[in-house]
Structure formats: structure tokens, C-alpha cells
């Protein structure tokens, strides 16, 4: 497992990083935690000639509250996310996802942006982020654009990120008090696990606390990208909360999923688990929404 030779850049600002990316084009890759990139370089799946390390750019390491939104810098680690009070308050499902990603060693290095741009179908952060309606900010010399995260993923390892762009932050609108979300990851181990299936669910209740005003159900590891389940969401929105509703939503989500057979598990099992996990995640979300 030989690491190919490469040049190493250490810009101190986003602008400088963008300049380097613009100059080097496809020869360069941004490096954050490296838990995915370096491994893939050793396996010779990727062999960039230049790595542009983002670790010394202070702006990318912050979690900030601004006008009702939470802005998470690209280089915030999974461990920091899992511990952050800002995240725990109102964005608990994201904290859960971050807290169960990989192992403690990996969480100390792996970053939120890395977990998105690597675009693995089973990644832990996309489902809770999508459930909260997160957006991503992409910057380059050419300018800046903001995209809904759910449109960002194109396939395994593929995103809308252009060659010269850097994902600099994630923006989440703080959910209302009457909302809640849950994230569940299914694997055979309690730690150091890759999801067989994961599901994040978000519900917001109306002022009476009985009717679902908004809902998002996001499925992971059951399609080439993390997937929203339109059928489940449609079924939920505007309905009164009752146990059979979540059961039906689970069934609908299972129908929306497009899992494959592999040595980790069969498509049939994964589809069945989407139904179970969706129901359970919705219950978690509901419980949280009601607690508020």
C-alpha cells in the first residue's frame, strides 16, 4: 500500500486555497481529515499530484449561529460535531450521526465536508443533514454558490462539486421548537460500523401538536446516493399523528428505496429494514418534537 508521490500545499485562507485549486485544476484535491482520501490514494483509486490541505484555515473550523441558521465550517470534525452544544440544541440527529461515525480515532480526524464530498452511499452525515434541509456552500475563484445538499450527490463518489471548487460550509436553518428529528444506523456491531441501512427522519408539528406540518425522510445505503423518500413524506404531511401512519410511511419508504445485493447484506433485507428504521426514526423525531 504505497502512497503515491504528491506536492503538499498549506494555504492560510479560503481565497488562497481557491487560487491554488484554480491554478492546478484537476491535478489537485483538497485535503481535510484525509480518512477517505489518503486511504483511496494508498489503494491507487485516486492519485492527485497536489494536495491542498485545509487544516490551517481557521474560518473552516468554526460552528457559528447567524440569524436563525447554523453554519458549520468544512473542517469541523465528526468528534466536534458530536460534542457541540450548538448541534445538540435542536440538531440532535446530526450529533447522533457524527457520534456513531467510524471509531473515536476516525471521528477525531474525519470532517463534515469530507463526509459529503466523498459521497459514499452509506455515509453517516448526509441523511441527518438532508433531513434538516441543509445547504452547502461551494467556493472557487469564479465565485460562490449555495446548493441544497440533496441535489449535491450524483452517484457513489460523485457530486456537483467542480474541479476548482471547495466545499467551505454547511448551512442549516434552525428548526422550529415544534420539530424533531432522529437518525438510526443499522449494522451488526455497535461501533466501527458501516451502515447496512441508515435512516434520518424529521417532523415538524403544527401549533396544536397533533398534525404533521413538515416531514423529511432520508434513506442511506439503499441507493447510489442518500435518498429522500417522497412517498413517505407525502403520506405524512398534513396528517394527524398516529402509530399506523408511521408504519405506512415506513412501507412507502421501503418502496422508494433501491438497494442492491452485496456481501454485506441482501437487497431484500435492506428494503425490509428501511421500513423498520423509518418507523423508528419517525418515532424518535416525534418524541423530540413533542418534548419541546
Amino acid at each position: 500500500m504505497l502512497l503515491p508521490k504528491f506536492d503538499y500545499h498549506e494555504p492560510l485562507s479560503v481565497d488562497e486555497a481557491c487560487q491554488i485549486m484554480s491554478d492546478l485544476g484537476e491535478k489537485a484535491k483538497p485535503l481535510a481529515g484525509g480518512t477517505d482520501l489518503i486511504v483511496n490514494m494508498k489503494k491507487k483509486i485516486l492519485s492527485p499530484e497536489h494536495l491542498v490541505a485545509l487544516s490551517r484555515i481557521e474560518d473552516l473550523r468554526k460552528i457559528e449561529l447567524l440569524n436563525g441558521s447554523v453554519r458549520i465550517g468544512a473542517c469541523v470534525t465528526a468528534a466536534e460535531l458530536a460534542e457541540s452544544q450548538e448541534i445538540k440544541r435542536g440538531l440532535g440527529a446530526l450529533g447522533q450521526g457524527a457520534g456513531i461515525l467510524g471509531s473515536p480515532l476516525i471521528r477525531n480526524l474525519a470532517t463534515v465536508a469530507g463526509n459529503l464530498v466523498s459521497a459514499r452511499p452509506a455515509a453517516d452525515l448526509p441523511p441527518p443533514l438532508m433531513a434538516y434541509g441543509a445547504e452547502v456552500v461551494l467556493k472557487s475563484r469564479r465565485g460562490e454558490r449555495t446548493l441544497p445538499l440533496e441535489t449535491f450527490f450524483q452517484g457513489p463518489g460523485q457530486t456537483l462539486l467542480e474541479i476548482d471548487e471547495i466545499l467551505t460550509e454547511i448551512i442549516i436553518q434552525r428548526p422550529p421548537e415544534s420539530a424533531g428529528a432522529g437518525y438510526i444506523k443499522l449494522g451488526t456491531r455497535k461501533a466501527l460500523e458501516i451502515s447496512l441501512v441508515n435512516v434520518a427522519a424529521y417532523v415538524a408539528l403544527d401549533s396544536s401538536g397533533t398534525t404533521i406540518e413538515a416531514a423529511r425522510v432520508v434513506l442511506g445505503a439503499v441507493a447510489p446516493t442518500p435518498l429522500r423518500s417522497p412517498s413517505a413524506e407525502k403520506l405524512l404531511i398534513g396528517e394527524k399523528v398516529d402509530p399506523s401512519l408511521f408504519e405506512k410511511a415506513g412501507q412507502a419508504a421501503a418502496k422508494d428505496s433501491r438497494p442492491i445485493d452485496d456481501f454485506r447484506g441482501s437487497a431484500q433485507y435492506r428494503r425490509d429494514m428501511v421500513a423498520v428504521l423509518t418507523r423508528r426514526a419517525l418515532n424518535m423525531a416525534l418524541e423530540q418534537a413533542r418534548r419541546a
Binding site: 451488526t188 456491531r189 456481501f263 433485507y269 425490509d272 429494514m273
Partner: protein, 756 residues
């Protein structure tokens, strides 16, 4: 029972501090001046003829010092079963043919690892691909591709055991059941990947530092494959990070390192990657187990007919021993008057299976114990009661096979039932929760001399000094199990010394007495322990004689070695310190050092082992009936390992066994597709994490094993067997799903529940 001073105490491990502080030197830590780094080129095909190998480009790469293929080597086959040369089926580097994906074809030594790796890509090999077989059924089919020309039908060997009258036994049975079980391949997953460093001196002698369980076997087989004399090779075992059976043979990188060190005159190191270990390494035998048992209505076992197909992969490795032991453990726990076993070791085009903790017992006992649980259910007898009814007891004999000289099995069963609140829980646990039992018996070393050594199975030398210290020299190999500590305890106990009075030099074939067959089959405590004890006793006798003469003692006096002093029993004033006594003996002998040798070779103990351990384990699980996930809530274990030498050591072995058994039952599996191992990282090869480990309670049933040192027998290996059948039974108790094919995956559970 005898009172001990040091034996039976929680003595901290001899190697603990060095390992915890990172100062322990493992093989890969060794760096010698001018050392080259080796890498191995492996076959990408499961079965192929080698037509042509071109190493020109690799040799031309700057930094590459040596490239070898099978053609450069003496082409001498090897294998551990050298008593039967026809079982020796492996070349250090492939000659003519490759037989599995990962088969070693060529080796490179270069100035650094990266260059060696780069050179591998430059070796061109032309193969003619051959049809391949990937499971035992396919390998046994008429007209199946032949993997070794010398083994028609792909059966490399078979083993038979038979006693009683099997026909009559089944005729007399009221209840007969037949089942087929399958078990899967798992990895040893030792934390330290295989590593070796070879150095050749100007006289052509080799020194090899290597991560091994068997320095003596490596020394001998390295000599035979290199065409050298055994004593021109010195094998040293540094600290080893686990073996579990995976390091009990000479391996190709050991040969290549020595061969290339000789060729280049420079030291050569090989260290395998984790991917290599998981993709191509030895593994536990997958098996297909056909088992038929007959009982009387009252639960008395009458007959058992067992047939096992072992999926050996491409070479024999330690398969012959596993083939025999699987059959032995099919009938070790219970009195079965009529028994027949046929084990067939079958070649397939997969990485070879070898020895792995339990050595055939985990597979065989999963089947035997599951079948016992199924029989209990149908006979309407409590599973623990059914076992007690049929359990082996001290003094039981299997004619010409085994003598049980100590056995705490029934006590273990009773104790584990009490600890776990078995009877109540079997009746009252809520749906989704379940409790199950599994049992084991295991060997304390093997008695059969397949290695054909002319030396004792174990040897020890004790040197005593006038400063009150002693030096223990033994070839026994501590691979992390703690045997150095155990042997020091035995010696300190016998000589009445403290642990810090003892220096140990172990596992160096040029410095320690010939021989020791290594750390496997749970043999070290009993065999090396006995050898150490014998040497200590000889030292003691000499010292007693000297004191007796010095104080003009009446010959009827008993003597004692205790707290660093040697004296007449009951008359502590008539004696002196250990060191003074040694000085006295040396003076009397005009300077001759006080040295004694001890050795042990089992004799007259049947075909299997000098002593058997026994035990019973109960698992409680909770099953999520929607996802099929199993959570093991608690494990209770009661086991008989004879005299406990080091309680913490035994506890560590028990916890490690449960951890390994848990993985075997629920999550670990080397998945292969057409001979290619698919999960080659610890992300996808799922060893249970610390969070998955259940809490446990355990108790040692103390017996006194007459054949063991101070009454001790094995504690490290047998315990890995009961966990899978106990968990499988608990899952069945919780859900009604009966697993007959390991591992117990969530999908299998859900499918099983749907069928109901």
C-alpha cells in the same frame, strides 16, 4: 488441596510493562544495518499453470537487490506433518502451478518497501488458467478439476475413529436424529501481522527473527527447504502480538527472507499487510458436518455417527490435525458407547485453512452441542439435565483413545446453572429474550508426534546462582498468552523463590534446550510446565543433599524450599538461604555450575492428549425481532482447568475466548467469491468491538490433574468453543429460530422467523 505461595496468585505478567509502555520489541521493530525490505508477489488466479515468469524489468529497477521465483529455489516441499512426507504439499514459492488467489509466486528484496512494492508490478507472469473448485461438494464431484496430482478426488487425507458397535447402538436407540451443519471461515486476526527478519553470517549461517508460535518447527523446515543443517539456522522469537494458530508453520516469507539474505549477504525483512493477512492468510476450516445421534427415551446417549468434510483450501497446512481433532471432539464430552467418525480433508482453490484456536473443536462442538440442544427439546428434557446425565467423569476411558484423569464437567454444569439462574430463566424470560447453554472439552497438548521430532516434546534448563537467582531457559514460546509468566510462577513456587529472582530466556533455538514443539494445542502450561518442574526438582534435590550434609541431618528429615530459604522441615534454624546453598554445592563440586535439565514427552496417554479440560457456558441474548440483531446480554462460564496457576491469566483467556466466540457466532466471516476474499479490512471483517462485549461471570472448578504440573491443565483454547452453540441456543430460545449454519446473521434470523 496443596497450599501454594505463588501459584494461584494474580502475578502481573512478565511482559505487561514492556507492552504497555511500547518498549517491547516486535519483529517489525528490528532494523539491521543494510537491511533490505521484501515483498511477495501473489497469484491473482485461483488455479493456473505458470507458463512463464519474466523478472527482467523488476531486477532492473534501481534499488532492487534480489528477485526470486520458484525456479531459483531448491524446490523442496514442506509441511508440519513430516512423519508422513506425502502430506507435505507446499513449496515456499509456487512451482509450475498456483492453487489459490494469493499463492506465493515470486519475491522481491529492495532497499525500501516502496521500491520492493513497485518492483512487484514489473514482474510479468503468463498463466494458463485452469478450472477451479470453491467448495467441498464441487471438489468431490466426479470429474472435478484436480488440485494436487497426488490426491485423486481432491481428498488429501481421511481420518477414522471407531469404537463400540454403531449398528447395534442405533438399533437400541429410541430416538434418533440426523442433521447437517455448516460452519464458515474466520480469521485469527492477530494484531501483529506476520513479520520476519533474516540475517546470514559470513559462514553462511542464518539467524531468523520471526513472529511465530513454533521456533523449532520453523528452524527444522527452513533447514530442509534450504537444504541446510538444522543447527546452521537459529530462530529467535521476539515479542509476538498473538497467533491463535495462525503462526504455527514455516511460511514462505520466512523462507524467502533467509534465502535472499543468503543470496545478497544483507539482512532481509518481510512484514505482511493486513490486507494480505485477511485476503490470503490461514483461516479456520469451513466444514460440512453430518451428524446422526441415537438416545434412549430417558436421554441416555447410545450412538453417534459423524462425518465431516473439511474445506482445506489449496494445501494441507495443519488440516490433518484438525481432521483428527474434529472427530475426537465429536465425542469427548459425553459417554457415547458406540461411535464412528469419518473426517475427510478436501482441497479447494481457496486460501488454505490451518490451525486456529480450538483446532477443529469450535466447528465440531457447534454441531454436537446444537444437536444436543435439539435432542433435549424433542426429548422434553432440560438441556443441562440431559448433559449431566451423559457427562464424562474422572476415570472414564475411551479404549485406545483417551483416559480422563481429571474432569469437573458435571460440577461445571451445575455451577453454571446456578450462576445464571438457568431453570427460572428458561421458563420465565419474556419474548425476544433467551438463554442457552454450550459446553466444551479440550486437549492440554497433543500426544501424536506428527512432526517426527527426535527430541522431547518440551525441555527446560534451570541454572541456579549463588546470588539467589535462577535462570530458566526454554524453547516454549510466549505469544501473548502469558506462558513466560506461568513458567516462572511454577519455577518460583517449586524453588521457594520470588518472581523477581527468576530470569527467563525463551524461544531461541540456539540458546534454549532442544526442543519445544511450540505454542499450540494448549500444550505449554502442561508440557513446558512439567519440563520446568522436573528441572527445578533436580536442583532442589542437590540443594537438599548439601544442607543435609552440612547440618548432619537424620535421613528421615523432610526438607523445604520456602521464602528464599532451604531448611529441614520443622527446623528452620537448620538451613540457609537459597544462594548460600547454591554456593555450598558449587564449592563441594569445585566450581561446577549448578544446572539441571528437565523434559517432558507424554507417554501412555492414548491418542489424543495427556489431559482434558472441561467447561460449560450459558449465554443470555436479546433479539430484535424486526431487525434480527442479536445483543448478548451476559455470559456465565464454569470451567475446569485443573489447578489455576494465574487467575488473571485464566480470566484473560476466558474473556478473549468469549470475544472470539462471539465473533464466530454472530459477526465474523471471511466472505469469498470464486476464491477471492471480499472483506479484507477490519471495517468489513467484523470483530466485535468493546461495546459489543457482554459482561460475564465465571468460576473455575478446581480439580487436580495428576499429569499436569502442580495439577494444572489447559485454559486458553477450549473456552472458545462453547460460545457459538450457547448463543445459537439462546437465539432459538428467544425466537424459535434454530441456526444450523454459522454465523447467525440478522437476515438468517428474520428468514427463520418468517418460515415459522
Amino acid at each position: 488441596m496443596k497450599r501454594f505461595n505463588i501459584v494461584g496468585k494474580d502475578i502481573p505478567r512478565a511482559d505487561g510493562r514492556a507492552k504497555v509502555t511500547g518498549t517491547a520489541i516486535y519483529t517489525d521493530d528490528i532494523k539491521l544495518p543494510g537491511m533490505l525490505y521484501g515483498r511477495i508477489l501473489r497469484s491473482p488466479l485461483a488455479h493456473a499453470r505458470i507458463l512463464h515468469i519474466d523478472t527482467k524489468k523488476a531486477k532492473a529497477l534501481p534499488g532492487v537487490k534480489c528477485v526470486i521465483t520458484g525456479e531459483d529455489t531448491p524446490k523442496i516441499k514442506y509441511g508440519n506433518w513430516r512423519l508422513f512426507p506425502n502430506t507435505q504439499d507446499e513449496y515456499p514459492l509456487a512451482v509450475d502451478k498456483v492453487r489459490f488467489i494469493g499463492d506465493e509466486v515470486a519475491a522481491v528484496a529492495a532497499v525500501d518497501r516502496d521500491t520492493a512494492e513497485e518492483a512487484l508490478d514489473l514482474i510479468r507472469i503468463e498463466y494458463e488458467e485452469l478450472p477451479a473448485v470453491f467448495d467441498t461438494d464441487a471438489a468431490l464431484k466426479k470429474g472435478a478439476p484436480l488440485i494436487h496430482e497426488a490426491s485423486p478426488g481432491n481428498i488429501s487425507l481421511d481420518r477414522k475413529i471407531s469404537y463400540g458397535d454403531i449398528k447395534k447402538g442405533f438399533a437400541e436407540s429410541d430416538y434418533i436424529r440426523e442433521d447437517v451443519f455448516t460452519v464458515h471461515a474466520v480469521s485469527h486476526a492477530y494484531l501483529e501481522p506476520c513479520s520476519t527478519v533474516a540475517q546470514c553470517d559470513l559462514d553462511g549461517r542464518i539467524t531468523l527473527w520471526t513472529s511465530t508460535q513454533v521456533p523449532y518447527i520453523v528452524q527444522c523446515l527452513l533447514a530442509s527447504t534450504l537444504g541446510m543443517r538444522e543447527n546452521d539456522i537459529r530462530v529467535i522469537k521476539p515479542y509476538v502480538g498473538g497467533g491463535f494458530g495462525g503462526k504455527m508453520e514455516m511460511r514462505p516469507w520466512e523462507f524467502c527472507a533467509a534465502f535472499m539474505a543468503k543470496k545478497t549477504g544483507r539482512p532481509v525483512k518481510f512484514t505482511l499487510t493486513r490486507e494480505e493477512e485477511l485476503a490470503t492468510g490461514r483461516r479456520r476450516h469451513p466444514m460440512k458436518i453430518y451428524s446422526k445421534v441415537g438416545f434412549k427415551k430417558d436421554g441416555t446417549l447410545v450412538a453417534k455417527d459423524l462425518k465431516i468434510h473439511l474445506d482445506g483450501g489449496a494445501y494441507n497446512s495443519m488440516g490433518p490435525t484438525a481432521t483428527f481433532l474434529s472427530g475426537n471432539f465429536g465425542a469427548m464430552l459425553y459417554r457415547i458407547p458406540n461411535y464412528r467418525y469419518l473426517g475427510q480433508h478436501i482441497y479447494t482453490n481457496k486460501p488454505p485453512a490451518g490451525a486456529m484456536r480450538g483446532f477443529g473443536a469450535p466447528q465440531s462442538l457447534f454441531a454436537a452441542e446444537t444437536q444436543m440442544n435439539m435432542a433435549a427439546e424433542e426429548l422434553g428434557i432440560d438441556p443441562i439435565d440431559l448433559r449431566i446425565k451423559n457427562a464424562m467423569v474422572t476415570g472414564d476411558k475411551i479404549p485406545d483413545v483417551a483416559t480422563i484423569s481429571s474432569c469437573g464437567f458435571i460440577e461445571s454444569l451445575k455451577e453454571v446453572a446456578k450462576m445464571s439462574n438457568w431453570k427460572r430463566k428458561r421458563r420465565t424470560l419474556r419474548t425476544g429474550r433467551g438463554i442457552g447453554v454450550g459446553c466444551y472439552s479440550f486437549i492440554s497438548g497433543g500426544v501424536f508426534n506428527w512432526f517426527n521430532t527426535q527430541y522431547p516434546f518440551s525441555a527446560a534448563e534451570v541454572r541456579a546462582f549463588a546470588d539467589g537467582t535462577v535462570h530458566l531457559l526454554t524453547m516454549a514460546s510466549d505469544i501473548g498468552q502469558g506462558s513466560d509468566t506461568t513458567l516462572k510462577q511454577i519455577l518460583a513456587e517449586e524453588l521457594g523463590l520470588k518472581m523477581e529472582d527468576i530470569r527467563i530466556t525463551a524461544a531461541d533455538t540456539a540458546m534454549t534446550p532442544q526442543a519445544d514443539l511450540g505454542s499450540w494445542g494448549s500444550r505449554v502450561t502442561l508440557m513446558a510446565g512439567n519440563a520446568t518442574l522436573e528441572a527445578a526438582k533436580k536442583i532442589k534435590e542437590v540443594l537438599f543433599g548439601a544442607i543435609s550434609a552440612r547440618y548432619n541431618l537424620n535421613v528421615i528429615y523432610d526438607m523445604e524450599c520456602k521464602d528464599g530459604r532451604i531448611y529441614a522441615k520443622g527446623r528452620p534454624d537448620r538451613g540457609m538461604s537459597f544462594g548460600e546453598a547454591v554456593a555450598l554445592v558449587q564449592k563441594a563440586n569445585r566450581g561446577k555450575p549448578l544446572v539441571a535439565r528437565g523434559h517432558y514427552t507424554p507417554r501412555g496417554k492414548g491418542l489424543v492428549t495427556p489431559a482434558f479440560s472441561f467447561g460449560a457456558q450459558v449465554a443470555e441474548v436479546e433479539v430484535d425481532r424486526e431487525t434480527g440483531l442479536v445483543e448478548v446480554k451476559k455470559m456465565w462460564t464454569a470451567h475446569d482447568c485443573g489447578t489455576v496457576i494465574n487467575p488473571t491469566g485464566v480470566e484473560g483467556q476466558l474473556e478473549g475466548s468469549i470475544h472470539m466466540g462471539l465473533g464466530y457466532a454472530l459477526s465474523e466471516e471471511l466472505v469469498t467469491k470464486e476464491g477471492k476474499t471480499l472483506n479484507t479490512t477490519f471495517l468489513d471483517y467484523k470483530i466485535p468491538s468493546a461495546l459489543d462485549m457482554p459482561p460475564g461471570e465465571s468460576i473455575c472448578i478446581e480439580t487436580y490433574e495428576p499429569e499436569g504440573p502442580m495439577g494444572a491443565k489447559e485454559a486458553g483454547e477450549g473456552l472458545v468453543s462453547p460460545t457459538a452453540p450457547a448463543i445459537a441456543e439462546a437465539v432459538c430460545h428467544a425466537t424459535g429460530y434454530r441456526c444450523k449454519d454459522l454465523p447467525i446473521t440478522p437476515e438468517k434470523i428474520l428468514k427463520g422467523l418468517r418460515k415459522k
